[in-house]
């Protein structure tokens, strides 16, 4: 499936910022399930950006602006050809050892409830894939999708206790439980085409990848209970939502800011 | 040179100058309080001292009356007063530590020694009798610092920033002292020409260490016109505005040569310098001395901000 993406992030500052610097993890990798036809990041400072692979294997651009402005707009656009790969991502170049992803973070550290959730699956499944699917199902039973009850700093434990959350919360609970069971798991950001044809909605998405012996990384989307298919475009990964964040920035200047994100994903079915 | 280094050099010498000015002002206030015939305005003397030090608002935010022990303690030691001698010496020394390698050992020893010794002084030990001795000590030490600076430091851009700090501060101080006398004390017109008036003028000169040199220059009794002329336009008077700006202007020219760039602050300095060089006392009085001084202090502040901006002090 050919997917066209337009992703615009705007920061509106209460007071003008004089200097800003951002790390952008906004470049998808070429993998079995996706072929990049064209891809472009457009924002102030992108011409001189330093580019490197971070410790997770993501392509990062470091951009900065020296300006006097009350807004910063980062636009990403591109076209991706997706193919079915049953969620298998395998091993990317520049990747660290998978067992690095056994490290819990502040957002994923488990409590008794997550421990109980994880332990009920311990030794109960014939292989890892079965385990991950069963784990997804348990999380879906316990969690309702709800965009109003959590925010970007909500921990896995808090989300599970509330029983509501968004894709980030589902992913954190999954990751927390996997790591507890000594299964490496990581957080993945990307885009999802909700319907065939035109769609402008919850297209910015997050899911997880877990390590499977012999296959490498395999994707699981605990919100939808499936492995990513041709409707998914993978952007980057990390320990959790914070470390995989597509945009992370610091600016000099007083006052707060307001963030708006618009994502438009179009699929052309041209089979 | 780092912008921060330039900033620290500028503020180090500016704070040393301010410490000295605080000591001078306190000395004048102290003498006034001892002078018979000024009792009509006893409390006002201290108020005017605070005003001359630009400290009135800060002082009265915490104190009801301006009496000698409170004012003395406030100007010398109070931590909540950013311009107390203690805070000036501490700030000077912190700046010096931050740029320890950009100044000479002699400068460091002078500034470090001054702080170490001053920090040992107990406020309660500074009685009225002890005050003059402490004030003399402060003046001596700040003079020693300046001597160490002039004798040892390399004449590069760092030297220029040090000089700018001194003269920016001094010009502000002189203008303020003069303004306080003229604007705050003068309106009581029945006193013009009286003994009290003369005493006040003499104190102003004393605060600028200029009561003797005045005689050499004018060979006349104290007159408002002469004193204003002396403190504003006389280049040979080392605390006059004209003198400060002659230094500032030539220092700015040094910086222009050193970096090969002329910036906004150069034009500001030159403008103020020429105004003073070509100034005429009659014209200044006609336009109003207070207006002139207020305008000058504004310009002097703007110059400080412009130097900081142009040379990346942040």
């Amino acid at each position: 499936m050919r997917i066209r993406i337009k992703h615009t992030t705007s920061y509106h500052y209460e007071q003008s910022a004089r200097y800003g610097v951002q790390e952008l993890r906004l470049t998808p990798a070429e993998i079995a399930s996706q072929h990049i036809i064209d891809w472009k990041i457009d924002c102030p400072g992108i011409e001189g950006a330093a580019s490197y692979f971070d410790s997770f294997g993501n392509r990062v651009h470091l951009v900065n602006q020296e300006f006097d402005a009350d807004e910063l707009v980062i636009r990403v656009s591109g076209t991706i050809e997706t193919r079915s790969a049953d969620g298998v991502v395998g091993t990317l170049p520049h990747e660290p050892v998978p067992r690095l992803f056994l490290r819990q973070t502040d957002l994923t550290r488990p409590d008794k409830a997550i421990t109980a959730l994880a332990r009920q699956h311990e030794g109960r499944h014939r292989d890892q894939i079965a385990l991950y699917h069963a784990l997804m199902e348990s999380i879906r039973e316990r969690m309702n999708f709800d965009t109003r009850s959590t925010d970007s700093s909500t921990r896995a434990t808090e989300a599970l206790a509330q029983g509501h959350g968004v894709c980030q919360d589902f992913a954190h609970i999954f990751i927390s439980a996997c790591r507890l069971l000594e299964q490496p798991a990581r957080y993945v950001t990307g885009y999802l085409v909700m319907q065939e044809g035109e769609a402008e909605a919850e297209a910015h998405h997050a899911w997880v990848e877990a390590d499977v012996a012999g296959l490498g990384w395999v994707g699981f989307d605990p919100v939808n209970g499936i492995s990513p298919d041709i409707h998914y475009v993978r952007l980057g990964c990390g320990f959790d939502a914070a470390s995989a964040a597509p945009i992370r920035g610091v600016r000099r200047g007083a006052g707060g800011d307001r963030l708006t994100v618009r994502v438009a994903v179009h699929s052309d079915t041209q089979q | 040179m780092l912008g921060r280094t330039a900033s620290s050099l500028y503020w180090m010498s500016r704070y040393m100058e301010r410490a000295e000015n605080m000591a001078r002002l306190l000395d004048v206030g102290y003498r006034m309080s001892l002078t018979p015939g000024l009792d009509s305005g006893h409390r006002e003397q201290w108020e005017s001292t605070l005003q001359a030090a630009a400290l009135s608002d800060t002082f009265f935010a915490a104190h009801e009356n301006a009496m000698m022990p409170q004012v003395r303690n406030f100007m010398l030691f109070e931590e909540s007063n950013p311009s107390s001698v203690r805070n000036c010496l501490l700030a000077a020394r912190s700046n010096a530590r931050a740029v320890r390698t950009a100044i000479t050992t002699e400068m460091w020893e002078s500034i470090n020694g001054t702080w170490l010794e001053f920090s040992q002084v107990k406020p309660s030990s500074v009685t009225a009798d002890e005050l003059p001795r402490l004030l003399d000590w402060i003046k001596r030490n700040t003079a020693q610092f300046r001597g160490a600076m002039l004798n040892t430091i390399l004449r590069d851009d760092g030297y220029s920033f040090l000089q700018l700090g001194v003269f920016n501060e001094r010009a502000d101080n002189t203008a303020r002292i003069l303004d306080v006398k003229y604007y705050v004390l003068l309106p009581r017109s029945e006193l013009v020409g009286s003994d009290v008036d003369m005493q006040q003028w003499m104190m102003i000169l004393r605060a600028a260490s200029a009561h003797r040199s005045y005689r050499h220059v004018y060979r006349d009794r104290y007159k408002a016109w002469n004193i204003a002329d002396f403190l504003i336009l006389r280049r040979e008077m080392p605390r006059s505005l004209a003198h400060c700006y002659a230094w500032i202007n030539s220092t700015m020219e040094d910086l222009e040569t050193f970096y090969g760039v002329r910036l906004e602050c150069h034009d500001l300095a030159k403008k103020a310098h020429l105004q003073l060089r070509n100034g005429n006392m009659d014209v200044i009085f006609q336009q109003g001395l207070h207006e002139f001084l207020a305008d000058f202090m504004q310009q002097n502040n703007t110059l400080g901000a412009s130097i900081a901006e142009n040379y990346n002090f942040f």
Binding site: S55, H94, R99, L102 | G3, T101, N112
Partner: protein, 476 residues
């Protein structure tokens, strides 16, 4: 004139039978020649020199941060050339192995796969820095400046107490102590051939230049990054910058533009290629590490990963001097060098092992307990000097968090003659030689000898009443 502590303790001046050890012969006769009060005067002169120069360190905890002088002892500690050569070989072996370990840990982790170091110890260790995974620092070097803490217990036995691979401090004292000694006792330098230490800053500069990043063309620009004047080691930061002739910067002085790091100068920004930072990992870059840090430079770590600047020492070197990893250093040396360690580790008990823990709790009065993440002598129990109450407290703590402590036997640290109130007396010492690793390994002959000035005390930390001595390595 001088009574040794006891026969159990090795004294570096006197042997068991009371004869003077070879390196100390000359100084012994010199000490005997000194007029009454002569040493006292020299000691006072030394203090005056240090105070004038402003060599102080900040002490925290009291109401106000105060600056103090570290006491300086005027009797040098002397080590013979042959003794030093062995130490040098051992240190070099150790730092090479630890650097190889860091490279491996931040790449393929072969040592974990080989089962020589437990995976959990590394991957779940807070000193492990995942952000460093896959990064290739210039010349493959992680820890460029290392201070190895050594203690001596007999004629031929040295132990490594700690490998400091993060931002070891104290080198300015090594240099200033020598400077003071040369002023105070020039006649002794005429009698001994003492290896010089004054070239350390020059060697440091060469080391830093040699690890310029790939993007640097031409002469590398170096800067020292300090947390500022309130840092306890600010004097040293300023001293080293001055001696190397480079800028001393704070975080605010640096900024990132187009992926490169620049200094804010009075005019045009100046690009920086190598940053000798004395700011901890956590505070280096709010974009990557602690968000609330104001000491660092936003974007610095990205510039580093992009190969546009070198950070010295690299972030994440703490995993190699972690106290829990310390116990594995002998295996680490064998794994990467194929050799037996030349310098001994202090035998260490692992409290997570029930048998070892039982032994530890039974014998606390003879042992030293250290917190895994403590430093500077804080959070430490020295058994022989402890009270019953202290031991009860540590028993409770060890039981609660056994993996938070390592336990070692109390070592009989050697003593050296030291000038104290009552005259010359033996005091316990350790030694921190400084190692530079760049285009080559450079070990400055000598180092910082720290001396516990309190009679019988084994704690040499300056924050707890320790002083320093000049350390003389004799040339053949």
């Amino acid at each position: 004139m001088y009574n040794k502590r006891s026969d159990k303790i090795f004294d570096e001046m006197f042997m068991q039978d009371g004869t003077v050890r070879e390196p100390y012969r000359t100084i012994e006769s010199w000490l005997l020649e000194q007029p009454r009060g002569g040493l006292k005067q020299k000691s006072k002169d030394a203090e005056a020199i240090f105070r004038r120069l402003g060599i102080t360190f900040a002490v925290y905890g009291s109401n106000e941060t105060t600056e103090r002088l570290i006491p300086f002892d005027i009797i040098p500690r002397i080590i013979a050339a042959a003794e030093w050569r062995r130490l040098e070989r051992g240190i070099e072996q150790r730092v090479r192995a630890l650097n190889a370990f860091l490279h491996d840990i931040y790449h393929r982790q072969e040592i974990i796969r080989a089962g020589r170091v437990p995976e959990e110890l590394i991957l779940k260790n807070s000193a492990f820095c995942p952000e460093m995974m896959g990064h290739d620092p210039a010349r493959g070097i992680y820890s460029h400046i290392i201070g190895v803490d050594l203690v001596r217990v007999s004629e031929n036995e040295f132990y490594v107490l700690e490998d400091n691979l993060r931002t070891p401090s104290g080198v300015s004292y090594m240099i200033e102590d020598r400077e003071a000694m040369m002023r105070l006792m020039p006649e002794l330098f005429a009698k001994y051939r003492v290896a010089p230490v004054e070239h350390y800053p020059e060697n440091l500069r060469r080391t830093l230049q040699s690890v310029a990043p790939p993007a640097c063309k031409g002469d590398p620009v170096i800067a020292v990054l300090t947390p500022g004047i309130f840092n306890s080691a600010f004097f040293e930061h300023s001293f080293l910058a001055d001696e190397m002739g480079v800028e001393l910067c704070q975080g605010d002085d640096l900024f990132v533009d187009d992926g490169f790091v620049y200094m804010r100068t009075t005019r045009q920004p100046k690009r920086v290629d190598v940053i000798y930072r004395r700011v901890d990992d956590d505070y280096l870059d709010p974009l990557t590490f602690r968000k609330d840090s104001t000491l660092g430079v936003p974007g610095l770590f990205s510039a580093y990963r992009a190969g546009n600047v070198t950070i010295v020492n690299a972030p994440g070197t703490g995993i190699a001097d972690d106290k829990a990893v310390y116990t594995y250093v002998p295996q680490i040396i064998e794994f990467y060098t194929g050799e037996k360690p030349i310098l001994n580790n202090v035998p260490t008990y692992n409290c997570t092992n029930p048998d070892e823990r039982a032994y530890v709790l039974e014998n606390l009065q003879d042992l030293v307990v250290k917190e895994v993440h403590g430093s500077g002598g804080y959070g430490m129990l020295v058994g022989p000097a402890s009270t019953r109450k202290d031991r009860a407290e540590f028993t409770r703590r060890i039981k609660a968090r056994p993996n938070n402590y390592i336990v070692q036997p109390t070592l009989a640290l050697s003593t050296c003659p030291t000038f104290v109130e009552k005259g010359i007396a033996p005091r316990h010492v350790d030694l921190r030689p400084f190692v530079l690793m760049g285009d080559q390994i450079r070990i400055t002959p000598g180092g910082l000898t720290r001396v516990a000035l309190k009679d019988g005390s084994l704690v040499v930390n300056s924050s707890q009443g320790g002083g320093t001595k000049d350390t003389w390595i004799l040339e053949d």
